[in-house]
Amino acid sequence: MEIEIISFGQITEFINNQKIEVDGITDTDAFKQYLEDRFPALKGLKYKLALNKNIVQQNTEITNQATIAIMPPFSGG
């Protein structure tokens, strides 16, 4: 299935916004594993995902055409 990845903050320095074709990934936990394998720099970071503009609080199902944002710790204000 197709997933759109968007990244923010320091994560933009090693993950570009992109559409990817993945198979066998059905939830956000599996997607995190996929991301950390593909972008090892993520492992040292505390980051959060947002699935279709909702911040992921617990493992959530991913469907085709999802947009997933990868967000490092917030530093507004």
């Binding site: 923010f8 903050g9 911040i55 917030f74 530093s75 507004g76």
Partner: protein, 147 residues
Amino acid sequence: MSEKKIKNIFVKGPIEPAFIADSIAKHSSKTAIGGHSIFMGQVRKDEIDGKFVAAIEYTAYEEIALDKMHQIREDIFEKYPLHCMHIYHSLGTVKTGEICLFVFTSSAHRKPAIAACDEVVDRLKAELPIWGKEIFEDKTHQWKENS
């Protein structure tokens, strides 16, 4: 306050003192207000490894940030007897000494305005997907982290 009307909070570049004055002046017709509390964040010229911060460049996941801010606003109006609340945060470049955050709460008596303002700032910093990139005078950078 409960209609789902998402207000924008983002301002391009710094928040000008004249903008703040305007915002204050607009409240003179709201004669049930007795106390206003304001918090302003200003970009510090921090020194890190001998280099000085010249500016912070802010980016945000705007849709989520505005949605979260809406929730926070609802919670705060629920919790405190406020007359109004205004929140502005910069996007893009804000130089040292300039203002990047402006939170403004008003109530009949002072305590709720002060408590609400404080709580909004805390929650905004913790919950809004906004990122600050500290640009040093030599154009190198580091990503800001809220302590």
